[in-house]
């Protein structure tokens, strides 16, 4: 699958036109990772926005201290066609989570600096992409809330 097609199948980029995707493809690259590899760690500069083509990636949060639940907690698992590393589009552009591959993983990595420049230059593309991104983030938040409630009800 070409990078352009991979972007097109992702919920964040799917409404962009071919010309816009061609532009984004120019500053994107395919990256492969082994199972267990770390794609990025929290606190580091978020230079890329990722779209998962194959494999599975766990997003983990570092706990301040060693606790009953351990040092790290997985807060999400990214599957095919999902975007991750959203911090690349949100100031201060630092990753807030750590991304660890659960399986051999292939991603399309979009250069965040160039993507931000494109969004600044072309407000239409910027509006469309951020609108989609907010939609995806909102649905993830909704799912997290349901899980939170479900688990809390069980503890009572």
């Amino acid at each position: 699958m070409t990078m352009k097609n991979a972007l097109k199948e992702c919920g964040v980029f799917c409404t962009l036109g071919n010309a816009d995707l061609d532009q984004i493809e120019k500053f994107s690259s395919v990256e492969d990772y082994q199972a267990g590899a770390t794609i990025f760690t929290e606190g580091t500069s978020s230079q890329k926005l990722y779209v998962l083509q194959s494999g599975k990636v766990a997003l983990q949060m570092q706990l301040p201290n060693q606790s009953r639940v351990g040092r790290r907690v997985s807060v999400d698992i990214v599957t095919r066609n999902e975007a991750f590393g959203w911090s690349a589009l949100v100031e201060p552009h630092l990753y807030t989570l750590m991304a660890v591959c659960l399986e051999p993983t292939r991603v399309v990595a979009v250069d965040a600096g160039k993507l931000r420049s494109l969004l600044d230059e072309d407000k239409r593309v910027g509006y469309e992409l951020l609108k989609r991104l907010i939609g995806v983030v909102a649905s993830r938040l909704e799912e997290t809330r349901h899980v939170l409630i479900s688990e809390r009800l069980m503890v009572v």
């Binding site: 639940v69 790290r72 907690v73 997985s74 698992i77 399986e103 051999p104 479900s150 069980m154």
Partner: protein, 220 residues
């Protein structure tokens, strides 16, 4: 249980996957399942309590106990494997991906084979549980792998199914044969009865003829 027995804890919310993991252990001589956990908290508790050498963990393990239909965060497998390997460095923690539905459908319900990812990207290496204990504890801390459903055992399963069908067919054949034999015996008795009846009937008609002849002679 001897000292050389390899002690294994398996962890998955899904009973069928736990069974599959336990099957991997049971088929390996000298390995035994000492505990089964359905969530992360239980898996950690069992690892601390039972001190296994190997922990086989489903990546989609929920953190706490719940029903399969409930919307739990089923993503604690990695955390569990990491925590076990950090807290108990002698344990080889294996994160075991479930076979994909398409893969399972293609191979059928065969004997599962454990594999781990090799050095080459994406390479899958079949592995024995005892092999996981090789090397230093640091080297075996956390391993990523999966389950493959073996084709050889699928053949064995097919043979077993065929044998079952043969037994069923044989039983039905015996039952049918016995029924036929009873029918034939009864048919023989029926023929004899009918023959006797016919002879009796003829005798009766003959007697009637003789009686009417005598009556006619007496009138004349």
């Amino acid at each position: 249980m001897s000292d050389s027995t390899l002690r294994v804890v398996v962890a998955s919310e899904r009973p069928e996957f736990r069974q599959m993991l336990a099957g991997v252990v049971e088929r390996e001589p000298g390995a035994v399942v000492v505990g089964q956990a359905e969530n992360s908290l239980r898996a950690l508790a069992l690892a601390r309590q039972l001190r296994p050498q190997v922990a086989l963990v489903d990546p989609e393990l929920p953190y706490i106990a719940g029903h399969e239909s409930q919307r739990l965060s089923r993503m604690s497998g990695l955390d569990t494997a990491v925590n076990i390997s950090h807290e108990l460095p002698s344990v080889a923690a294996v994160l075991v991906s479930n076979p994909q539905p398409a893969e399972a459908a293609a191979t059928g319900p065969g004997d599962p084979q454990l594999w781990v990812y090799g050095e080459t990207a994406g390479a899958r290496m079949p592995v024995r549980l005892h092999d996981l204990m090789a090397g230093t504890p640091a080297a075996r801390r956390l391993v990523f792998g999966g389950i493959k459903l073996g084709e050889a055992v699928v053949t064995r399963a097919t043979l077993a199914e065929v044998a079952d069908k043969l037994v069923l067919c044989g039983g039905l054949g015996i039952m049918g044969g016995l029924g036929l034999m009873v029918t034939l015996v009864l048919a023989g008795a029926g023929i004899a009865l009918a023959a006797g009846g016919a002879a009796t009937l003829l005798l009766g008609f003959a007697g009637k003829l003789v009686a009417s002849a005598r009556a006619r002679a007496a009138r004349d």
